[in-house]
Symmetry: C2
Subunit: 206 residues, 2 copies
């Protein structure tokens, strides 16, 4: 199909598609004449992936790394997860004290060497942000965070499809980034429901 | 203290402080001379809050709305949560089919009117992103997401401090935005641990 049809099929404007082509997020179409190229199903699919990643707040540089991991997956399913996380976790560029983070993630079953530095740094940065805002997670809430996230991760890892390596790659790489907005949105809905039940006295927000 | 001392105390560069002053995120200091102003503890505290919000990906416009909610809290704790969410949820600007979202959040205990449109739209947008990337949450994983988020929300709402209205406001408004990076980072650590246990065969990523 022509670029205009690719745009109509995917709902992505032609200038945006051209931008993705220039940024090499989308592979070139097959040249059908010096000024025209032809696009196919793989382009439609890849545009869907790019659009979903961008919509969930993933930067263009990170989309690049996610797509690279999709195209050149590492050999083992476990290393795959590390690559997926590396693609969407900002690199370690500041010296952070990891003591508190290590203490917290011990509640997830963490021991030294069981996860890479980048995600441990992400925990440390998050804890640092809370501290600098003067916010403290209540003592009785933190264990619920840990238990909830461990149960979610166990279910997710158990759900990695074994039908084909490609399916496993897609699941792990996209699942890491794309499920985040869903979880955050579900938390807000659940907070409003819990709040309505506790404080609302039958009042509704809608 | 002078602006240079405020900078030294908080670690926020002077030009950034001036930017926050111009954007009216930070209240003016007390004029001590025509060219100098004096800043105090409230400025230190507010800078910590702004820095933490910005670091966790909240936009300047959203920081504005969060601070406004902190300064002018609504009367009831329940409405407060709605305001906090409104401040950090992008407004409803696209027509989205909410049927699937309503079906999903029914698993959280949702009934019509129990949460506002903005958070329901956030769920719909997240589901839409997954769909357009061709990603499907496995049938057995979604209930774990719902249960995890409901348990977390229940614990968070039960933990709203009742010592003072100010404490409740801070907890709800900051907790909504600032805990998100912590939860996402904990999920990634938990995924790596679960993956190491399932696929790693003793291999470590570190």
């Amino acid at each position: 199909m022509k670029i205009s049809e690719l745009s109509a099929t995917t709902g992505v404007p032609v200038p945006t598609i051209k931008y993705y082509l220039r940024e090499r997020l989308l592979p070139e179409g097959e040249r059908s004449s010096p000024s025209q190229a032809s696009y196919g199903e793989p382009h439609v699919k890849r545009l869907g992936v790019i659009r979903a990643l961008v919509a969930s707040g993933v930067s263009i540089a990170e989309v690049h790394r996610v797509l690279e991991t999709l195209d050149n997956p590492p050999e083992s399913a476990h290393l795959l997860l590390g690559s997926a996380h590396a693609a969407i976790t900002s690199s370690v560029d500041e010296p952070l004290d990891l003591t508190l983070a290590e203490e917290v993630v011990a509640g997830l079953g963490w021991k030294p060497g069981l996860c890479d530095d980048a995600v441990l740094h992400a925990v440390a940065r998050a804890l640092d942000g809370l501290r600098s805002a003067g916010f403290e997670v209540p003592r009785e809430v933190m264990p619920i965070y840990l238990r909830g996230m461990r149960e979610i991760a166990d279910a997710e890892i158990a759900g990695v499809p074994t039908s084909s390596p490609e399916a496993a790659v897609e699941y792990v790489v996209l699942g890491s980034a794309l499920v985040e907005p869903l979880l955050l949105a579900l938390r807000r809905v659940a907070q409003q429901i819990a709040s309505a039940e506790r404080f609302g006295g039958g009042a509704t927000l809608r």
